[in-house]
Amino acid sequence: MILGRVIGHVWAARRDARLQRAKLLVIRPHAIYEPAFPTRHLVATDDVDAGVGDDVIVCLGAPARASLGSNDMPVDAAVLGVVDRVEWRADAMQAAGAAPGIKRALPALDAVSK
């Protein structure tokens, strides 16, 4: 799973029949998540009613399809939860090598934990 923030919606009138009821969100991953392409975003289906500005847990691959109740959904990312608290230890992060990428991104997480 990855942690990200909802930054928008995608609408589509013409879409796969299995996606007719799906809500599609645009997600910006926290820290440096690197998808196959350097897009800095991903589009995920949402069954938990997340809104713009929410921090969410996004599941990738087969479990994303399973969360929609069927293994043949044309989907590879799904929002599974709306985050209400993140707790992280700065010292553990330093022990992990104090990656500058994490340090930049985590203030956004800090705001969530308040």
Partner: protein, 91 residues
């Protein structure tokens, strides 16, 4: 699988039913030498890993096998990353 260091935990009240009961930890992914790469992954934890501990994270069906062994019947487990081991040493 990859190596990583647990740096924290994530809580979500509003979530898919399949996520109930899973402990979700924030793991900073490491490179081959154990240095942080700046990437974060949220991994399900069954081994009671604590912040600061080095772990290995399994992805895909390997992650589902951590939560529910038996590849044939765990396609419905909502997990794509899970802590498979707590690392005590590496050479």
């Amino acid at each position: 699988m990859i190596r990583g260091t647990v740096i924290g935990q994530v809580w979500a009240t509003r979530k898919a039913r399949g996520l109930d009961g899973q402990t979700l930890l924030l793991v900073a992914a490491c490179d081959a030498e154990g240095r942080a790469t700046g990437r974060l992954v949220v991994a399900s934890d069954t081994l009671d890993a604590r912040a600061g501990e080095d772990v290995t994270v399994a992805f895909g069906s390997g992650a589902r096998n951590v939560l529910r062994p038996g590849a044939a019947d765990n396609r419905d487990v909502l997990c794509d990353a899970a802590i498979a081991a707590i690392v005590e040493g590496a050479g």
